[in-house]
């Protein structure tokens, strides 16, 4: 929690030279305005506090107050419960797998060696889908007869493992509030040749999210089934033509992004990146919501600090009133300008 005591007046108001009256009579200090602690700590909202403070009444000087805690939005602070748990396990040098409903990350001596998620592509999806190996080859690998070594080079195999791990981690790290379980006995299907620290993994996933948002800042299509609009592009897109055409042909509103990725033999993230770029060009739109009940990963926690100071507690207006609703929409439109 965020302490608010740094805004309360000191015990000795006579320290203020503006305090009127006899020195022995303590001045009545007006109560400071109640401000939500989060807004006090927010670097955005802090400057707006100054004019709101009463300036006519005698006011004690703030002396030697402890610095307010600041909410960090950097990659240093875990953003989700899964990231926080994973960071703690890594700090202990744990070995095992942290499971959540939407993905799992495997640790070995505190380093990330593998990650997987139901939405993410596997090594088999990538290599078979790209035509590097046949389905039969992959099935025999899965059965334990290692025939992959003669078909795929170690460099390519390692890149596929990394792509699969990052695909899984993208979903796994976004889990917030679900039930998590740590199993120290589980062993991963493979291990990365160069394990990643949890900080590296979180940084990598965070930069991927930022890349997606820079293409098209809406996660609407991430969990929906995209549909090709058939319209002319509103702007040029950098997606290569063969990738674009295959994706638009497959996007018939019946498949979500993971299903499209599997159909086309691509990683889920690579498909997501294409989908966002094509949405920005007006070539894809959201169809019906996919059956997935979970919110899209990019919509995960960390709400941005609000732009306006709202009083804490229940809102004082009734948003179901049509006139109030109109005013709220007007305000939102003005703020969007």
């Amino acid at each position: 929690m965020w302490p608010t005591d740094t805004l309360t007046p000191p015990d000795a108001p006579t320290a203020d030279p503006l305090a009127a009256g006899p020195a022995l009579v303590p001045a009545v200090v007006p109560p400071m305005p109640t401000v939500p602690p989060l807004l006090v700590a927010s670097p955005v909202a802090a400057p707006q506090l100054a004019p709101a403070a009463p300036d006519s009444a005698p006011r004690p000087r703030r002396t030697q107050a402890a610095p307010l805690p600041r909410r960090r939005r950097s990659s240093c602070a875990p953003a989700t419960t899964f990231e926080a748990a994973l960071t703690d396990l890594a700090a202990e040098g744990a070995t095992g797998v942290l499971h959540g409903p939407d993905g799992a990350v495997h640790l070995a001596a505190g380093l990330v060696v593998h990650a997987e998620s139901p939405r993410g592509a596997t090594v088999g999806h990538l290599l078979v889908g790209a035509g590097r190996i046949g389905l039969h080859d992959w099935q025999s690998v899965a059965l334990g007869t290692d025939r992959l070594s003669g078909l795929v080079g170690p460099g390519e195999l390692e890149l596929a493992r990394l792509a699969a791990t990052l695909d899984g981690a993208f979903d796994a790290l976004a889990q917030h509030g679900g039930e998590l379980r740590f199993d120290p006995a589980a062993r991963p299907a493979f291990r990365l040749a160069r394990p990643l620290s949890v900080l590296e993994l979180r940084g990598a996933v965070g930069r991927r999210r930022a890349l997606l948002d820079s293409c098209w800042p809406s996660a609407e299509l991430d969990s929906a089934a995209p549909v090709a609009t058939g319209a002319a592009p509103v702007r040029r897109t950098a997606v290569p033509r063969h990738r674009r055409q295959a994706l638009l042909a497959a996007a018939d509103g019946s498949r979500g992004v993971p299903e499209l990725a599997r159909l086309l033999g691509r990683s889920t993230f690579g498909t997501l990146l294409d989908v966002r770029q094509l949405a920005a060009a007006g070539l894809l739109a959201a169809g019906r919501p996919a059956v997935l009940p979970d919110p899209p990963p990019a919509a995960a926690p960390q709400p941005a600090p609000p732009d306006v100071l709202l009083p804490p507690g229940p809102r004082s207006y009734d948003s179901s009133d049509p006139e109030v609703g109109l005013l709220l929409r007007l305000r939102a439109a003005l703020e969007a300008l």
């Binding site: 890149l159 950098a238 063969h242």
Partner: protein, 127 residues
């Protein structure tokens, strides 16, 4: 069929090579490194090279999306003392990686280095 480490070691054998890294441009991760990074820091070098790579892969003018197969091949930056050479790895799946080679300008042959780095990038993903 070389692995990542062998490919990086081979790239360091290119005349004038100062340092090389294999980088994922979707997330700036240095997957493997050899030699010295810019100012001795491969992580920062990978992040900076990622910005360059994205300027190519995410910009229609440079990505050349209608040309067919691999969208981009090289990015070359020359400065007073150094050649910076980025070569996209033509993986069959979404690997989204490139090799970033820095060369000492006094000793390197840019044209030769580009050809050799391209061959190494091809071998990394072709059996």
């Amino acid at each position: 069929m070389p692995g990542i480490e062998e490919c990086l070691a081979e790239a360091m054998g290119i005349t004038g090579a100062l340092g090389v890294s294999l980088v994922d441009w979707t997330n700036g991760l240095a997957i493997g490194t050899a030699g010295l990074g810019p100012d001795g820091d491969h992580e920062v070098g990978a992040a900076d090279a990622t910005e360059l790579a994205r300027a190519v892969t995410q910009t229609p003018s440079f990505a050349d999306p209608d040309s067919g197969a691999p969208p981009a091949e090289d990015v070359i930056v020359t400065s007073a003392g150094t050649y910076h050479l980025i070569r996209f790895v033509p993986a069959a799946f979404d690997a989204n990686v490139f090799l970033y080679l820095r060369l000492d300008r006094d000793h390197a042959n840019l044209a030769m280095a580009r050809l050799r780095l391209a061959a190494i990038a091809d071998r990394l993903v072709l059996a």
